[in-house]
Amino acid sequence: MSDISEDRVRHLAGLARINLTDAEVTHLTAELSKIVDVVATVSAAATDDIPATSHPIPLSNVYRDDVVTDDVLSTEQALSGAPERDGARFKVSAILGEEQ
């Protein structure tokens, strides 16, 4: 059995920066409990002697020459999709709250 509780779902949603309504929390708690019960079966198949695969076709040392190329975005292009900007910068909402 999974240990998915409403409090845990709230905590995870906080970590993932997604606001959830109470109804969503209740619904997700039930759904995720069922899903976790199924996916948790992998731990039975995976014994200590098996190495992990993070990447299906391993490559190593993927480098390029340390030279400036001309196919990078301009400042204007990089800022073109920003919800808000200040000159040549992305404008971020307040970082500190009132209490801080």
């Binding site: 996916v39 992998v42 014994t47 695969t53 993070s54 076709i57 999709g81 909402s93």
Partner: protein, 550 residues
Amino acid sequence: MTDLTRQTAAQLATALADGSTTSLAVTQAHLDRIAAVDGAIHAFLHVNPELSLAAAAASDARRAAGSPLSELDGVPLAIKDVLVTTDMPSTSGSKILEGWMSPYDATVVTRAREAGLVPLGKTNMDEFAMGSSTEHSAYGPTRNPWDTDRIPGGSGGGSAAAVAAFEAPFALGSDTGGSIRQPAHITGTVGMKPTYGSVSRYGAIALASSLDQVGPCARTVLDAALLHDVIGGYDRHDSTSLKDAWPSFAEAARKGALPGSLKGLRVGVVSQYAGEAFQAGVMTRFRESLDMLATAGAEIVEVSLPSVEHAVAAYYLILPAEASSNLAKFDSVRFGMRVNPAGGGTVEQVMSATREAGFGPEVKRRIILGTYALSAGYYDAYYGSAQKVRTLIQRDFDQAFASVDVLATPTAPTTAWKLGEKLNDPLAMYAQDIATIPANLAGIPGISIPSGLAPEDGLPVGIQFLAPARHDARLYEVAAGLESLLEASWGGPLYAQAPDFDTAVPTQSTRSAVPTQSTRSAVSTQSTRSAVPTQSTRSASPTQSTRGGA
């Protein structure tokens, strides 16, 4: 006059080369087709006829000057909305990116343009490619051209339906756990997931970076191969890109279509993909195809892949884990939506409000599952174990390919289901990927081609072939071989048997008029939906945000 939309890309290329048609005529025919049927199918999120016609005119000018860019110069192409484009919005099916214009083109889009292909528009998909039915699109579902009450598969249901409904000769897709192959199975078309790293992912909005692969969707094996030849190969913008020199896949497909090509081929039938989970008609057509291969001289043997039993579980840990990390970029700062809570708030509060409003229920579900799988104290048991299962599955494949050239499976367990049927049962939806997921976990190529119609419901069924990594050409050869045998038995391609739903929707000439009484009776299932404009990105379906209660 020939209906240009019924031609394959290869036929169109020939007609363009010999001057019997023009790219303008071909492109206009497809735009007309989209205008006529996409109100019912909703394969496209965005169409821009002016842009397409300008690209077509430029292609015709190159032809006239004797300098076409490639043999496909002037042939139209549909593009899955997961691939970014500078001249059309790219949303990945999500509200959080509604209207977003990319400052650069995906490498596969650049290569398509450099070959002279004419982009027709962006196709619908499950939000961020999370789904097997295209119902998780924030812009409403796509419908299956074989039966518009049914799903077209997913996540690339838009690309598959566009090709199946003759709205485009071929299309670009992406496959993370089956999103090219399963819609191909569901819509009676061809879909190829190439070897991981063989087609650039640069500009493909990432879902799960160790699983994602871009590939072609088409009506024939040769057309898929032709498109693969255009988009494949090393790209320095993608650090997982393979530097291999690839053979011509079109040549492989042409070779495979010759009589006798299947003689001596060793085909392994995966014993795990049978039994109750698989619909009877899916298995009937699968076995018929195997018999056909055997009659053509192939050797059919049974092989076992014991670890694929854990593939779906491993996948639904690895994918959410990688997705929760990849989707962190939607932070309300650099691009996409920003929602300011009433009374303002800190960047964290703005981010949380934005992601609440911008993500649909399936995306929220998977991000939270992935966040859980990566949490301290759970990482080893979940994500770590899933990565070990990945090793076991790779070993199973290595062992199988030591004794066979290709593996064969039914592409998916069932034919197209009704819209809404599995929407509130995520696990039932996830189980649809049972036969396609292992290829993504192992990085190997897989192709699905039509193997017939299920006798019980008359809906398309696909057969999947898998080959060792880097042996994509072998798949085109084998698939083209079986395709030619099947077409000989059917007396033509399967898509020739598709119901003519032209009569079920207003045609171009009557489009602005109210449907007449006689056509209305044929559109009973569509009559409650108003004709939707295909011109621009549509607003979200009003029911989407409340769906599933999450």
